[in-house]
Each structure stands twice: as structure tokens, then as C-alpha cells.
Subunit: 415 residues, 2 copies
């Protein structure tokens, strides 16, 4: 670990078991943790303006080096004040390295595959992987492109993100142990090259997070945790497959977490379902990014305190056609304060943009309140009760945050 | 004309030549005129929530009886508090009768045709027009439907709009004089039936506007103006083809306007381009609805003070790729305050929802400021100078609103 307050500081303010709440201070703001990070993959949180994302309470969004390299290009973004200036966002930005995306061109549908489902019938793009990096064709214009560790860091430097992620290979669930081990070793060599490049040419204020790979294999995760923890990184991300299902994910995280430096901010990559977050936070995870809340919104699905339904309700279902209630009782978002399930059912069925937008506002409000509750609960030493209540179907704003005892109970609705 | 303050009042507060500014008071608010009416055809202003439409300064939106009848149905909407309750909008609503839409099923692409362009290659739906009304098949589910004057008024009664429009036939440009005359006469018989139905069964507080048809034919427009003006309507809308081009439109409006009752609020249906509004206001038109500002936004086009370019700029054009300026200098909208043309160019090219949304906010801000300027200018007796400045390329917020003289000049930017 590197500790350079000019790049990043992580202050743990309270602990409740292994769960912790604190502040990540970086170039453009302070992020209260645990935090959910909305995706601004292509320089916007889909359907929202930057101002609205801030109003929802978010301080950190995640952009993607691969997508922004292909269009509009990092040089164009740099010419407009970096990603902050380009997208009109003056709070913090973390950028993904593009490793996940270039390898998904090769593996095909990695997003599915790392969860243990093989991609089917997807066209494989022309991709060549070597020690130097990954050559591929742009799906936008067919042009030849190359991204390796140095290229990824150079893109992220021009994007000017507050936190860059190193270039890595995210190995899928179906990769065997041998492939996973070799990929991990190359990822470690790439980690060194990323840090060398960044030391020499990176923006002085930009922090770098290393990525722990190793798939579901304990000894590989152990090796990766040690290697990344010893490197001059400002924080640690956990990537790669975490197994085929939620129990296996919990296992892999439980074995990986204790191996990480105790004072490093930990970013669990690509995980953002309500129950996953509730179970990852007590293992010491601090930040989480995930496409699910915003993608679900665009498909007519709202987050809701429904443990039987994966904490989701599909508004397009006929049973909501005459439902006068809000998406989630007590939710302080604009959709819930002002609109009924019946209206949003209708908008979702009619594929109206306003429906996608109201659901995006709701889902991101839900995630922010879920994490705000977790932070309060950890501060009060009541995380266990909070998480249990949420997992049993309490809304984030109604679950108890105080430590168990006489004073505990549901909070008044703060909306 | 009927004058029932329990339904609608129109108070003209100032005149400047034939242009006038005033207030329409109806069940859910006071509309300052001249006013632009955003379309909420299917119960939402696309990409905006109801709250945002209000924040933009709009008091009146236009819903559509045809679309809302097909889905979700007027009974479902009535069960949720009418269109106001269903869409969470507590300000005023005017509903279109559906006449335009059912006849467009027959004529095919009436929207183009009334402007003199024949629709080409469009499938014709099964439609039967009779004295009683129009039978057609729903394009959504193939079900048989029938809308005539009574049905349209019954739908609008259930929607609970503040202002209903009578059921009429909007004749296209290519209809000959004889067809236009016969259609107009039927429209007048339908007007009587609409008013009879509404007198008997309509909501007491709902106002009804009659529609003046007659195509481009002076004697028909004269006859229609007289007929509708004598009926027990609360206001008058001008519909049908206004000719093949802008000069012909100005001619048809100039001959129709003086024939209308002087104290009736006048709604010019479906017209909303910047120059058209500037030329229609001094003829005594009060409110305008049009799909153009919001539809353009979804196609990457911003309204701008560019008379050479139909007051539009197409953000997808390459010349905006590195343009750091706002969509329109001095515009107070969120897109202009916070974002560059370069960013919106990128979002438009990438077809990102946030782009459609920012452009919708901009275009509706532009229209509201255009009309606010017109209102101020009429009050100050300076409408001529205001309209000339806008037509010559001044932004609505920078065009002079005071009467010509020493005090005249561009206003400070109010944004």
C-alpha cells in the first residue's frame, strides 16, 4: 500500500465487527462509505443529468476507459477539461480500466460468464491477447485498437479520474484453475507496469486501485491479495468470478477479505444487488459499483423491500395496472412521492422515457438510502440488526439503525 | 360563445395591435397567454416527470383522447383520479379529441399531409367513416373501436381535462374544396352533438373549445368561424390545413382571425415553430401546442436563435464535436448552464437517454422563454420589435421587450 494523502485518504470512523464506515477523500470530494457507485459508463448516468445524480446524494460515479476511448476518445475529453469537465460533474470519478471489456470481446459476454452462465451464440470479435496487452477491432467503426496496461493508464490519465483501476484480466467462472492462475500472474505483471507508468506519467493527484483476481481458488486469492496489498496502490478492488451463486460468492469474499491490508479502501467490482451488499459490507467491503439498479430501471423494474423477489418488482406485470400505491412505501424519491405503481406500470408498458427516468430516480434513491442506513447502523453498532431487517423485507429507510436495545426501532421516515 | 366563469375565464390584460396578453383561468390554474403547450400525448411529457414540467414554468399540457383511450383506457385513468391524478399533474390539462388521430388512420400520415406532403407507402388501417363517427381497429391489439362526437366527449369527461376539444375532421391539404366543405359541415353537426352531450353529461367544470376548419378556402373559414363562434363553446381552436407553406399559413390565419369572437381564447392547433409563433401572435392567437420542440429533442436537435436554420441546430453534426459553448448563449436551462455542445453532441451520437433529456429541458425552456418574452413585450407595447429581433436571430431572453424608444434594448439575462 501507498499512503499519499495528496492522492487519496481513507479514514475509518467506526467499526461494527468487520463492517466499517468512513470517508474516502480524493481529488473531487469525500465519499462516505459504505457507498454504492452509479455507473456513468459512457459519461452519463443514463436518463439523468449530472446535477440530478448529485441531488440524489451521490459523490462518486464510475466511467469506463474502454467505452470512452472508442467514443468520443480520451483526447477529445481531455480537451474539454477531462471527464469532469466533459460531463459537467464536479464530484469524484473512478474509471474502470477497460480490462473487463477487452477480455469480454474475447470470452464473449463475460458479464454472464463470470456468474457461471456461458454466453451463447454471441459473435466473437477479432481479439489478440499477448503479454503486451490486447489488440481488437472497434465494434463502432472496425478500426484496429490496442489496450495494454500502459495504454489503459494513459487513457485514464487523460480522462483525469480521481481513482484509476489497473488493467487486469477478469477471469470467467468456466476458466480452469490453471488458466486462472496464469491470467492472475499476468495481471500481477500488468499491475507493476501500470504502477510504473503511473509513477512516471500519471496525474499527481490521481489514485490507483489494484485488483485482486484468483477466481474461486483460495490459494490464488491469497497470492493475489498479498501481491496487490504489497504494491504501491491507494486502494484495492476485488474482481473476477466470485462463484456460481450467492453462497459461493460469500465464501470467496470471506476468504479474500481478511487477506487485504486492514486500512485499504476495498472496492467490490460489479456487485450491487441488495442482499449481496448487505452480506459484503460486514466482510469489510467499502464501495460497490453495479449496472443492475440503473439497467433494471430502463427495463421497468423497481427495487423494493421484497426478499422473495430478489428485492425487485417488475412494474410491467398486470397486477400493478391498478395499484395506487407508490413503488415502495415511504421512499422519498420523486417517483414515490408523486406517482403510483399504476402510472409507472402504464409508462413501462408503453416504453415511455419518463418511466425509465422515474424508475432510475427510484432505484438510485433506494441504493443511496440502503447505504446511508448501513453507514448509520455501523456508526451505532447496529449493523447486524439493520442488515437482518433489510434481508427480511424492511425498507432501507424503515430498518432499525440503532444498536439492539430499548432505543432500537424503525426510524421515522426521513423523506 | 358561452361565458361561464365556473368553466373558464379569459381576461385580456394588454393589447399591442391585435396581439394580446392575458390569463386563461380554468379548473386547475391560470395560464398566462400567449402560451406554448407541451404535449403529454400519452400522459407524460416524454423524458420529464410532471414535477419538472411544472418547474420549467408550464401550467398547461395537452393529453390525447385517442391514445389514452387505447391505452390504458379512460376508465382506468378515471379510477386513478382522472388524468391529473393518474399522471401526478395538478395543473391544467387540455385534451385533444382524437379526431385528428382517427382520421389520420384513414388519410395516412395526416401530420405530413396537412402540410402538403403526401404520405407514402404507409399501411392504411381499416377505418370506416360515417355520420355517426369513425370505426377503426386498434393498432395496439387489433380490437374494434368506435369514436364519434359523443364517444370522444365521454372519453374526455372521464379523463377529466380542464378543457376538452370537440371531435372534428382535420382535412388535409390535398382534399379538394368540395370534400373540405362537406367535411366541415359534418364537423359542424358533430360540434352540435358534442355540445349536447357535454351539456347533459359532461363534468360541470370542464370547458369545451370548438374547432374552426375550412382548409385554405376563405369562404369556408368564414362560415366555420361564424358557426363555431355562435356555438356555446368556451374557446376556439383553429385546425386543419393552413396551406402548403409559411406564407400561405400566414394568409389563412390572417383571414380567419378577424372572424373569431374578439374575446374568445384562440388555440392554434399543432403549430409551434419559432417563426410561426412570432407571426401568429400578432394575429390574436393565444395558445399553441406542437410536438416539434420535444420530438426534435429526442432526435438530437436544439432550438437556437438561428433564423437561417429554422431556429434549430442539429447537435449530431460533426461541427459541434469540439464546441465548448452552450446550446444557446445565455439560456437559463440546466443543459446550457452546465453542459457543452460537445457533450450533447456526443450524447446525441451515442443515443444516450441523458442527451434526449437535456435537449427536452432546453427546448421547453426555449419555448417558455419565447412566450414569456412575447407576453412582456405585448404588455410593454413592444411586440413588433421583440418579434423582429427574434426573427432576426436574437435569443428570446436577449430580445428587447420594451416599446421602441430610449429605454428599449436587450434585457439583462434573467437566467
Amino acid at each position: 500500500m501507498r499512503k499519499d494523502p495528496a492522492r487519496l485518504e481513507f479514514e475509518i470512523q467506526a467499526r461494527d465487527g468487520s463492517a466499517r464506515t468512513g470517508l474516502i477523500r480524493c481529488g473531487h470530494g469525500e465519499i462516505a462509505t459504505p457507498a454504492f457507485i452509479p455507473l456513468a459508463t459512457k459519461a452519463s448516468v443514463r436518463s439523468l443529468s449530472a446535477g440530478e445524480v448529485a441531488e440524489l446524494g451521490y459523490v462518486l460515479v464510475l466511467g469506463n476507459a474502454f467505452h470512452l476511448h472508442l467514443s468520443p476518445g480520451e483526447d477529445r475529453i481531455a480537451a474539454h477539461g477531462g471527464l469532469h469537465g466533459f460531463m459537467g460533474w464536479d464530484r469524484a470519478i473512478i474509471t474502470d480500466s477497460g480490462g473487463f471489456q477487452v477480455f469480454s470481446l474475447a470470452h464473449g459476454g463475460v458479464a454472464d460468464e463470470i456468474k457461471g452462465r456461458r454466453g451463447e451464440g454471441e459473435g466473437r470479435a477479432k481479439v489478440e491477447i499477448s503479454e503486451r496487452g490486447v489488440a481488437f477491432q472497434s465494434l463502432l467503426d472496425g478500426s484496429d485498437r490496442f489496450i495494454g496496461p500502459e495504454e489503459s493508464m494513459a487513457i485514464q490519465a487523460k480522462l483525469g479520474s480521481d481513482i484509476a483501476l489497473v488493467f487486469d484480466e477478469c477471469t470467467p467462472y468456466h476458466a480452469d484453475r490453471d488458466y486462472t492462475a496464469r491470467a492472475m500472474e499476468r495481471t500481477h505483471r500488468w499491475l507493476a507496469r501500470c504502477l510504473q507508468w503511473h509513477e512516471r506519467e500519471g496525474p499527481p493527484g490521481q489514485a490507483v486501485f489494484g485488483i485482486v483476481q484468483g477466481g474461486v481458488h483460495e490459494e490464488l486469492r491469497r497470492e493475489a491479495a498479498q501481491k496487490v496489498g504489497e504494491a504501491a496502490v491507494d486502494g484495492i478492488a476485488i474482481g473476477g468470478t466470485l462463484g456460481r451463486d450467492k453462497p459461493e460468492m460469500a465464501e470467496v469474499l470471506a476468504l479474500t477479505a481478511p487477506l487485504l491490508p486492514a486500512d485499504a479502501p476495498v472496492h467490490l467490482l460489479g456487485i450491487g444487488e441488495v442482499d449481496d451488499l448487505m452480506r459484503a459490507i460486514p466482510l469489510g467491503m467499502d464501495v460497490f459499483d453495479c449496472a443492475v439498479p440503473t439497467r433494471l430501471a430502463r427495463h421497468g423494474v423497481a427495487l423494493a423491500p421484497e426478499p422473495e423477489g430478489r428485492f425487485r418488482i417488475d412494474l410491467a406485470k398486470q397486477r400493478f395496472a391498478d395499484d395506487d400505491g407508490p413503488l415502495a412505501e415511504g421512499c422519498p424519491c420523486e417517483a414515490c412521492r408523486r406517482h403510483s405503481r399504476a402510472y409507472i406500470h402504464y409508462l413501462a408498458r408503453a416504453r415511455e422515457l419518463t418511466g425509465a427516468r422515474l424508475l432510475t430516480l427510484h432505484n438510485l434513491t433506494y441504493m443511496e438510502r440502503l447505504m446511508a442506513g448501513a453507514r448509520e447502523a455501523i456508526s451505532a453498532g447496529g449493523y447486524g440488526a439493520y442488515a437482518s431487517a433489510v434481508l427480511a423485507g424492511a425498507a432501507p429507510w424503515a430498518a432499525p439503525v440503532a444498536a439492539t436495545g430499548a432505543a432500537a426501532g424503525p426510524r421515522p421516515n426521513e423523506g
